[in-house]
Subunit: 351 residues, 2 copies
């Protein structure tokens, strides 16, 4: 019997460690898609500093491809596609387009190891005959120039999104993927089944929609914001907004999680991941972290004025990045002599 | 009869033009306090490009001093002190301390040509026997390296703050100052009496508390924010918050002002003054523009969630500036192992 084939797409620390974990287990054939780092990975591989899998030099998976298309040509078709990229639907390539060449209808299961809610929706729409699996990773892993630093034990919650058309099949695929990922020594990594993906994801938003977003607006670390009293003035009130929106979606978040997140970084003066992206000049995950929850708030009539304000401010900050990158262009003369209420339409028409 | 003596304090474009207007009229003896530009002003004066008062080279007032203390020694006591600095109560020197050496109790009238509300309160507290006059300037004047560019006709609304203990005396002083400032040719500048200072100032907040603040948070011009739909998502809703707070203070703002401000910069892609300050790395007028209105909101139980969110974000941005300037210092090790809810107290104690 041939081994299941897995494609890992995502250049960061999480993707590299996922490829490593799958490769070490030898239960699957694993292909990793590497774009900008391709030449370096082919010549000298990764340096791995992992609390989970140890120290490795010049490591690379047996199969490395420069693009999803190449991977399909060389090693497809795939039973699983694991996507660990940032999820930026308002960016140049939405996730469903990134993986489209590798998705065989009715065959390939899609594992989204990404933050946010509503990320399954475009997948279900585009790939209605495929299983969509949620992966929530607690690994803490970064890739700086092909040096992978993995600080926490590789722990991942796996479960089928509730939007799958056949949950029985979806659970089968989830268990099959978990088997490929679970290290033979059961203490090495930690694969947990997630019976309630929506709850898990909403609870993670208590952190991501609040701390990530506000620290990015002000370009400041969490602890400094807390010194200025933000726990009481914005962080807790904004978490309450997330909890209320979740409730309107029939998800009860664990109240204790709020205090957990208030204190998770006590004394650390660390930079949340969205701010890391922003400081690198990269687009950040605004829509799946904040836009989609606020769509639910609007749909269900739940007021969320703090997060709505932060969302619109961050949309501008993301737009600034896009303008700087040349992804959008404003011709100032198009707007001269025009009513500012018509600007959005003028801009839409100019695109 | 000796002429009344006026001291003008403030380095910017408004202060220089005020000194010029008073000097040209020759109804008062005018002293200007110039700090960092002192040597340059003494040697070569100002270059004036003014739509109101014309082109002048190497102009300076007869009396220039390096500090308020020097001005008092050389040319005091003063009948009027005109303050045109930024008003930053959370900065190193609050306005009442700047002018204190020049204020003779019971004699010197204080003219505050500054934005915001509540700016009279510290003055009334510190100088209860002095008249406090409001000046709202529409001049549009900037000082770049002793070159003064004045783009609009020098127009100023003058009126006594309602907090004056004796409004009759306060009006007398206001009329006296207006007489000193009014050009002999009545078409040159425009001095208007302000019968309702609170209303004038609250209406100006419709602009300053909304456009200035939000553009500063995102570091982006007004027109670009409008292209992204901010007229509807944040600007108008935030103006409604200001109007509601004003109403709770018994001030009815003119509804038409909202639309006026929405369109005042149509097609101009200009940078609001608070953002200009921020980009120069200067502290901005957060408390008098936004903090004081929100204190009124809290006192009167008026919800203002958008502006409250923006305020707390801007407080952090102002704090970043202070930290960069060395005005505040955070010793990260003071916070290690501590509960983040106690950070504000730790910081307060460390100061």
């Amino acid at each position: 019997m041939t081994k299941p084939s897995v494609l890992v797409v995502g250049l960061g620390g999480v993707g590299a460690i996922a490829a490593l974990a799958l490769s070490l287990n030898e239960k699957s054939t694993t292909t990793l898609v590497v774009r900008s780092d391709y030449a370096q990975v082919m010549s000298s591989g990764y340096t791995i500093n992992s609390v989970t899998y140890g120290q490795l030099s010049n490591w690379r998976p047996d199969r490395v491809s420069k693009s999803v298309e190449d991977a399909v040509k060389d090693n497809g078709p795939f039973d699983f596609v694991v996507l660990t990229t940032k999820n930026i639907p308002d960016g140049p390539t939405p996730c469903e387009e990134i993986i489209r060449p590798a998705v065989v209808p009715g065959k390939t299961a899609i594992v989204l190891v990404q933050n946010g809610i509503g990320i399954d929706e475009p997948m279900v729409t585009q790939f209605p005959r495929n299983v969509i699996i949620s992966g929530v990773s607690l690994i803490g892993s970064h890739n700086y120039n092909c040096v992978i630093s993995n600080l926490h034990k590789d722990s991942i919650f796996l479960g089928p999104f509730e939007s799958n058309s056949d949950m029985t099949v979806a659970w089968e695929k989830t268990r099959a993927f978990a088997n490929l990922y679970q290290h033979k020594d059961s203490n090495v990594n930690s694969i947990m089944f997630d019976e309630n993906v929506r709850k898990t994801r909403w609870e993670k938003l208590l952190y991501n929609s609040v701390f990530n977003t506000m620290c990015t607006v002000v370009d400041f670390d969490v602890s400094r914001c807390q010194i200025l009293g933000l726990n009481d003035t914005l962080f807790r009130p904004a978490m309450d907004e997330i909890a209320a929106i979740a409730k309107s979606e029939n998800v009860e978040v664990d109240e204790a999680k709020k205090d957990f997140y208030i204190h998770v970084g006590d004394g650390l003066f660390y930079t949340p991941s969205m701010l890391v992206d922003y400081r690198k000049g990269q687009l950040f995950e605004l829509e799946v972290i904040l836009g989609n929850p606020l769509k639910a708030a609007k749909r269900n009539g739940v007021p969320a004025p703090i997060l709505t304000t932060v969302y619109h401010l961050l949309k501008i900050i993301q737009f600034k990045l896009k303008e700087k990158k040349g992804m959008v262009k404003i011709n100032e003369k198009d707007y001269v002599g025009k009513d500012s209420d018509t600007y959005p339409a003028i801009f839409a028409q100019a695109r």
